[in-house]
C-alpha cells in the first residue's frame, strides 16, 4: 500500500498528467481534426472490415449484431496493440529525459498506457452508440466488462514494460513486435467467429491467448449469448483450465514489471 502511495504521490501524479498531455499534443501535432483521428482510424478500419466480411467473404453471416460483435473485438484488440506499440518505444523515445533527469522510469511507460486508456474510453462511447443503433438491450452480464478490460490492461501493461526495457538493447524488437501483432490479429477471433474452427483442440489453443478469451468474454457480456460468443468457460466445460489465460495475464504483468525494474538502472547508460 505504501509503495502505491509513493508511486502516485501528488508530485508524481502531476508529472504523469503532463507526460500524458504532452504525448497527446505531440501525436496530433499540426493535424486539422486532431484527437478525432483516434476515433476516425478505428471507425474507417471497422467500415472496411465490415463491408468485406459481410459482402465479399460473408463470415459474419448468422452472427447476431455482427457490427457490434466485430467492433467489440476491434476495440479490445486496438487497445492492446496501441498500448504495446506506444509502450515499446517509450523509453527509447524519451532517452533525453532518462539520460539527464532522475524521474521514475516506470512512469514513462505508464503514461503511454494512460493515453491508450483514454482512446479506449472514446472507443467505448462509440461502441455504446453502435449498441443503441443496433437495438441491443444491455444484459446483466455487462457488469463483467470492466473486469475483462482490467485483465487486458494488465496483460498489455506487462507486455509494454517488457518490450520497453528490452527495446533499449535490442532494436530489432520493434519490427519483430509488428509481425507478432499482425499474426496475432488473425490468430485471435476478431473477424471470424470461433465456431468456424471445428477442431476442438485448436479452439482450446486459441483460447490460451488472453486476448481471445477477453474478446469472447466481452462479446458474451455485451452482444449476445448466441453460440458465436462462445467463451472459454464453455469450451473447457468449466474446468480450472479456463483460468489459464487470466493466469497468463497476471504472470505477464508481474514478470514484465520485474524485468523492467531489473533493467531500469542501466537505461541511462545503454541509451
Amino acid at each position: 500500500m505504501g509503495l502505491i502511495q509513493t508511486a502516485f504521490s501528488k508530485k508524481n501524479r502531476a508529472l504523469l498528467s503532463e507526460l500524458v498531455k504532452t504525448d497527446f499534443k505531440l501525436r496530433y501535432q499540426g493535424s486539422m481534426v486532431g484527437y478525432l483521428w483516434s476515433l476516425l482510424r478505428p471507425l474507417f478500419m471497422f467500415m472496411i472490415l465490415y463491408v468485406v466480411f459481410t459482402t465479399v467473404f460473408p463470415l459474419g453471416k448468422g452472427i447476431p449484431h455482427y457490427p457490434v460483435y466485430l467492433f467489440t473485438g476491434m476495440v479490445i484488440w486496438n487497445f492492446f496493440t496501441e498500448m504495446t506499440q506506444q509502450g515499446l518505444g517509450s523509453i527509447v523515445a524519451r532517452g533525453d529525459l532518462i539520460r539527464k533527469i532522475k524521474i521514475p522510469r516506470w512512469m514513462i511507460v505508464f503514461s503511454t498506457s494512460i493515453g491508450a486508456l483514454i482512446n479506449l474510453g472514446l472507443n467505448l462511447i462509440v461502441l455504446g452508440v453502435f449498441m443503441a443503433a443496433d437495438n441491443i438491450v444491455p444484459m446483466s452480464s455487462i457488469v463483467w466488462v470492466p473486469l475483462i478490460l482490467l485483465e487486458v490492461y494488465m496483460f498489455g501493461l506487462g507486455v509494454s514494460y517488457f518490450l520497453a526495457a528490452a527495446f533499449v538493447k535490442f532494436r530489432d524488437l520493434q519490427f519483430i513486435w509488428e509481425l507478432f501483432v499482425q499474426a496475432g490479429f488473425y490468430l485471435t477471433p476478431i473477424l471470424y467467429p470461433l465456431t468456424q474452427i471445428k477442431n476442438e483442440l485448436y479452439q482450446k489453443l486459441i483460447f490460451m491467448n488472453p486476448l481471445a478469451q477477453a474478446i469472447q468474454d466481452a462479446r458474451y457480456s455485451i452482444v449476445s449469448h448466441h453460440e458465436s460468443t462462445i467463451t472459454i468457460h464453455r469450451v473447457f466445460e468449466g474446468g480450472w483450465y479456463s483460468l489459464i489465460p487470466i493466469g497468463i495475464s497476471i504472470a505477464v504483468f508481474v514478470l514484465g514489471l520485474l524485468y523492467f525494474r531489473a533493467k531500469a538502472p542501466e537505461f541511462a547508460e545503454n541509451l
Binding site: 501528488k10 508530485k11 501524479r13 502531476a14 508529472l15 498528467s17 503532463e18 507526460l19 504532452t22 499534443k25 505531440l26 501535432q29 533525453d96 529525459l97 532518462i98 539520460r99 539527464k100 533527469i101 532522475k102 524521474i103 538493447k169 535490442f170 532494436r171 530489432d172 524488437l173 519483430i176 538502472p265 541511462a268 547508460e269
Partner: protein, 402 residues
C-alpha cells in the same frame, strides 16, 4: 560539526564499451557465433573519488572535458549507479543536471514551462503561481505562445534557467550554466547565485570558469581523467586547474573571439580587419597581473577614404559589463594614412578576471562611428594575489609614529 548534504565515499565508475556495439539481434547472433564473447573496452570514468559536501555549501566541481565531471554529477543525481562505493544524499535534489532537459521544440513556451515544472516536482497550481515570475525573469513575455523551436538558443536558455532556479529542493545542481547566454544574462545569473548563496542553499556548480569558482565557491574539487586531484580551497583548486591547462593554453589563438553573435555596426569607411592581443612577444589572451597587454589593430580603408584620419576608442569591461578603462587616441591627425594602430598597457593592474574590449573607430571629430565592434576581444587577467576593488594601484601604506 557540520551537517553533510552529499557524501561520496570511494566511488568508482566503470563503463563497458563494446568495441562494436551490437544493437540488433542479428548482430548479436552473428558475433555470438564468431567469437563466443563480445569484446569490451573497460573505461574507468571515475577512480575512487571520495569527498563530502556540507549543508549550505557552495561547492565547485572543475576539470577539463572528459575529466569525469558529468559522470560524477549523474551519479549524485541518481541517473547512473556507481560501480563501486556509495553516494548518500541528505535532502532533496534537483533532478536535472542540465538546463532545458525535457524541453520540447514542438510545444509552446507556456506548455514547456508546465512540463518542465512538472519534472521539477511542481503541480499545475504551483506552476501557475510562479508562471509570471518565470516569464518575467526570462524576459520572454511576448513569446510564450510561440513554439519553442522558434526561440533563439539564448531565449531557450533563459527560460530554462528561470525555471531551474525555482526548484525548492535542498540541493541545487548547476552544470555549465554560465557558458551560455549573453553578457547581460550571465550577469543576471551571477546575481541569482549571490542570492542563493546568501540564502544558504547547498549548491553544486560544475564549471570551467575559475573566476566564478573563486568568486562563489566555498570549496572545490578538481577532477582530471577520473582522478580526484584536489578538494579544498577554490584558490588552490584554480591553481591546480590552471596547471592542467598549461599545455593547451599555449595553443590558444589570440584571435578575436570567434562568436558570431557579437554586435558590429558602423558607416564602414574605415573598418577593423583584425584585432589581436599579445604580451609584447607572443599572441595570447591570458595575462598576468604586472605584465603587459598589447592590442594590435589592423585597419582597412575603403576606396574614397584612403586618407581619412580616425580616432580609436576602446572600452575595457569586466564581467559585470562595467567599463573599467576607456582609453582613446586623441591624436587623430597623425592617423590619416595608418593601417595599423597598437595600444599597450604596461604593468597590468586590473584585478584578476575576465574582460572584454569594445573597439570603436570614429572620424576625426569623434562623432561618426565608422566601425563599432562590441565586446570583440576577450582576455583574462590572472594572479595569485587577492585584489579587492576593480584594480590594484601602485600604492603603499605608511605608518608614522609621533
Amino acid at each position: 560539526m557540520k551537517e553533510v548534504a552529499i557524501q561520496v565515499s570511494h566511488v568508482s565508475k566503470l563503463f563497458k564499451l563494446p568495441t562494436n556495439k551490437q544493437h540488433t539481434l542479428k548482430g548479436r547472433l552473428v558475433s555470438l557465433g564468431r567469437s563466443g564473447k563480445q569484446k569490451f573496452i573497460i573505461q574507468e570514468a571515475l577512480k575512487d573519488v571520495d569527498f563530502e559536501i556540507y549543508k549550505g555549501e557552495f561547492f565547485g566541481i572543475v576539470g577539463k572535458n572528459g575529466g569525469g565531471k558529468s559522470t560524477l554529477l549523474k551519479m549524485i543525481a541518481g541517473i547512473y549507479k556507481p560501480t563501486r562505493g556509495t553516494i548518500t544524499v541528505n535532502g532533496t535534489l534537483t533532478p536535472f543536471i542540465e538546463l532545458g532537459v525535457g524541453f520540447n521544440p514542438e510545444l509552446t513556451g507556456r506548455e514547456n514551462v508546465y512540463l518542465n515544472c512538472a519534472l521539477l516536482g511542481f503541480n499545475r497550481k504551483q506552476t501557475a503561481k510562479m508562471y509570471d515570475q518565470i516569464v518575467h525573469f526570462a524576459e520572454l513575455e511576448k513569446f510564450m505562445d510561440q513554439k519553442l523551436k522558434n526561440y533563439s538558443s539564448g531565449m531557450q536558455v533563459r527560460l530554462a534557467f528561470s525555471i531551474a532556479i525555482r526548484a525548492k529542493t535542498d540541493i541545487l545542481i548547476l552544470d555549465e550554466v554560465l557558458a551560455v547566454g549573453d553578457a547581460a544574462f550571465q550577469k543576471k545569473c551571477l546575481e541569482v547565485f549571490r542570492d542563493l548563496k546568501r540564502a544558504g542553499r547547498t549548491i553544486v556548480l560544475v564549471t570551467h570558469d575559475m573566476v566564478n569558482v573563486e568568486r562563489f565557491c566555498d570549496r572545490a574539487l578538481v577532477l582530471n581523467k577520473g582522478n580526484q586531484l584536489f578538494t579544498g580551497s577554490p584558490r588552490e583548486a584554480a591553481k591546480i586547474y590552471a596547471s592542467l591547462n598549461v599545455d593547451t593554453k599555449e595553443k590558444q589563438e589570440a584571435a578575436p573571439a570567434s562568436d558570431s553573435k557579437k554586435v558590429r555596426s558602423g558607416t564602414n569607411q574605415v573598418t577593423v580587419v583584425s584585432a589581436q592581443l599579445s604580451d609584447g612577444k607572443n599572441k595570447t589572451n591570458i595575462f598576468d597581473m604586472g605584465g603587459r597587454i598589447e592590442l594590435h589593430l589592423a585597419l582597412e580603408r575603403h576606396l574614397n577614404y584612403k586618407e581619412l584620419p580616425v580616432q580609436i576608442g576602446l572600452s575595457i569591461r569586466n564581467e559585470d559589463g562595467l567599463s573599467v578603462l576607456g582609453p582613446n587616441n586623441k591624436e587623430a591627425a597623425k592617423t590619416h594614412k595608418a593601417d595599423k594602430i597598437n595600444y599597450a598597457i604596461e604593468n597590468v593592474s586590473l584585478k584578476p578576471g575576465k574582460y572584454t574590449i569594445t573597439i570603436v573607430v570614429y572620424d576625426a571629430d569623434g562623432i561618426d562611428r565608422l566601425d563599432y565592434l562590441e565586446e570583440w576581444v576577450e582576455f583574462t587577467v590572472r594572479s595569485d594575489e587577492e585584489v579587492v576593488g576593480l584594480y590594484k594601484p601602485q600604492d603603499k601604506w605608511e605608518v608614522v609614529e609621533s
